[in-house]
């Protein structure tokens, strides 16, 4: 355990590093953070843990963690690989915004996957927001465009755009996403928030995901989901440190309220449990 009062020998630091690796922090980041902590020569286990927490929080982004809602209507584009929790996270975000008295409309721009629009429609009905869908197989950029136009015409102040999951290695799909973003930027002037949804149970691949999506459409924030499971999401440290993109929310369940603002200190404490 990290709080052991034994002497801080090699095996203490190896165990510490292993705890971080087991939390998906990644071997390089774990080694760097452990080394930095060790170099501060903490007196005992408790001091080591405190120093480690400082090092981890220090490695994370300084960027604003609140949702960036710019323009009228504000546009939030939600992207990520398959199955990470984009559609569900959009429902949760819409509910939060509605509680904040915002007039939200959703764009079901996943026109590819079976019953993607049905799924978003069920959520929209539950949350009490409007949703615009398109023909199956139709151009997702067209659905995004249509939704934006309707929002502007009918006085909605927020547009949240759901997109199909796609693996970052598929360049044609990343191009398709780029087009959705371009159309939205053309109409809105800018996309206030591009949220990348990362699955908290995913390992090192999340870094590549963040890099590729950032390159393709620009990512302003991350939602890390499924942290109600045993995964601790340590990869968030590397993503924030290496790319400077802040985690804004974490998903902690399948219900509409299971989304909480990300707190680096709480996150780091949970990482070391």
């Amino acid at each position: 355990s990290l709080m052991g009062s034994g002497r801080l020998d090699d095996s203490f630091w190896d165990d510490l590093e292993e705890t971080l690796i087991a939390a998906d922090v990644g071997v390089t980041t774990a080694a760097a953070v452990t080394e930095e902590t060790r170099s501060r020569r903490p007196q005992d286990g408790a001091a080591a843990r405190a120093a480690l927490e400082v090092a981890l929080v220090g490695a994370m982004s300084d960027e604003d963690r609140s949702l960036r809602l710019i323009g009228n209507p504000a546009v939030v584009l939600v992207v990520g690989v398959n199955g990470t929790g984009k559609t569900t996270s959009i429902a949760k975000l819409a509910a939060r915004m509605r509680a904040d008295q915002r007039r939200v409309i959703l764009a079901a721009a996943d026109t590819f996957r079976a019953a993607a629009d049905d799924q978003l429609r069920v959520w929209a009905d539950r949350v009490g927001v409007e949703v615009v869908t398109g023909e199956s197989g139709s151009d997702p950029a067209a659905v995004a465009y249509e939704t934006y136009q309707r929002a502007a015409a009918e006085g909605y102040d927020t547009v949240i755009v759901d997109t199909a999951g796609r693996l970052q290695s598929k360049s044609n799909l990343m191009d398709e996403l780029g087009k959705v973003a371009r159309v939205l930027r053309r109409e809105a002037g800018e996309i206030g928030e591009v949220l990348l949804v990362l699955d908290g149970t995913t390992g090192q691949n999340s870094i590549g995901q963040a890099r590729s999506f950032a390159e393709a459409v620009g990512v302003t924030g991350i939602v890390m989901t499924k942290l109600d499971g045993t995964a601790r999401g340590g990869i968030a440290v590397a993503v924030e440190h290496d790319l400077g993109i802040p985690v804004k929310f974490i998903g902690v369940g399948e219900g509409v309220d299971d989304l909480i603002p990300f707190d680096p200190t709480e996150f780091v404490e949970a990482l070391l449990e």
Partner: protein, 291 residues
């Protein structure tokens, strides 16, 4: 690549003819990093490298190989042994239908995989039925129904009962319609959610399946060990399916899941399309994991 890194490591050492313990320790430090970067679980890496060390120290370096290549060869073989056999077939029950239960974490690819399996078995002349036993996720039933229409496979649904009773009804319908494969899609769940795991156990009991397949996302990180163990505890898995292998994740989760369950990887998902289901090839997977 790992082989280049190890070549550098060994170039700095004075190994000749046989791998010394110092040589092997230095090289295994690099191998450890490669496996961890590939998401193999840290405890699994430890025990695997202990096995490799035992085989490697004192091993004769073959004439045609460099010491680095000799070590990588041992690691590669160890990975292949851990990954298990290829061509692990599906069970053949004494009496039809072959009942397949699909389980796993949220978003791992169960529903898509269930449909792919149905498609695959139909193309082999079987008469499958899909069972929409995910009563929780919004439009999960619609999703499976739409996939069923796409591949011409009937989908059993019942929105009025709980999953175990639904499964009983499905089996009855399959027998009366002479369908000889029943593939049950279930809701994604956390292995630590006791209520949902008990529900899954109840579904398992009702289904009395011939195959119980854990669907695992190839990009799963360190928790693959806990996930695989968790599901194994509640329902006796007969196999694994690794999904999203068309991505660039190294797939170390496969090693972790294999190590803790000992169950064969029966299929891999290699795309979103209904035909994107492949056989599992341990040698290919081993190379992919090593990087």
């Amino acid at each position: 690549a790992l082989s280049d890194q190890l070549n550098d490591t060994f170039a700095r050492l004075r190994s000749k003819g046989r791998l010394s313990e110092t040589d092997v320790d230095a090289a295994l430090r690099e191998v450890r990093i490669a496996l961890l970067e590939a998401d193999v679980n840290v405890s699994v890496v430890k025990s695997m490298l202990a096995r490799v060390k035992e085989r490697a120290v004192g091993a004769e370096v073959m004439k045609s190989l460099t010491p680095a290549q000799q070590l990588i060869k041992i690691v590669h073989e160890e990975l292949i042994v851990t990954l298990g056999e290829d061509e692990a077939p599906l069970a053949r029950p004494a009496a039809p239908p072959l009942v397949i239960l699909i389980a796993g974490l949220q978003g791992s690819g169960k529903t898509t995989t269930a449909a792919k399996l149905a498609r695959h078995l139909k193309s082999k002349g079987r008469r499958p039925m899909l069972v929409a036993a995910d009563l929780q996720r919004p439009a999960a039933i619609d999703q499976l129904e739409k996939l069923g229409v796409r591949i011409g496979v009937p989908v059993y649904t019942d929105r009025g009962v709980k999953a175990p009773k639904l499964v009983k009804g499905a089996l009855k319908a399959a027998r009366s319609d002479s369908l000889n494969v029943v593939i049950i899609d279930t809701a994604g769940r956390l292995q630590i959610d006791e209520d949902l795991m008990k529900e899954l156990a109840a579904v398992h009991k009702a289904a009395d399946p011939d195959e119980v397949l854990l669907v695992l996302d190839a990009m799963t990180g360190q928790e693959a060990v806990n996930v695989a163990n968790g599901f194994l505890d509640y329902i006796d898995l007969t196999g694994l399916i690794l999904t999203k292998l068309d991505g660039d994740a190294r797939g170390g989760a496969a090693i972790s899941a294999r190590e803790v369950t000992g169950r064969p990887i029966k299929f891999v998902g290699v795309g979103e399309g209904i035909d994107d289901l492949d056989a599992f090839y341990p040698e290919r997977m081993a190379s992919r994991i090593l990087g």
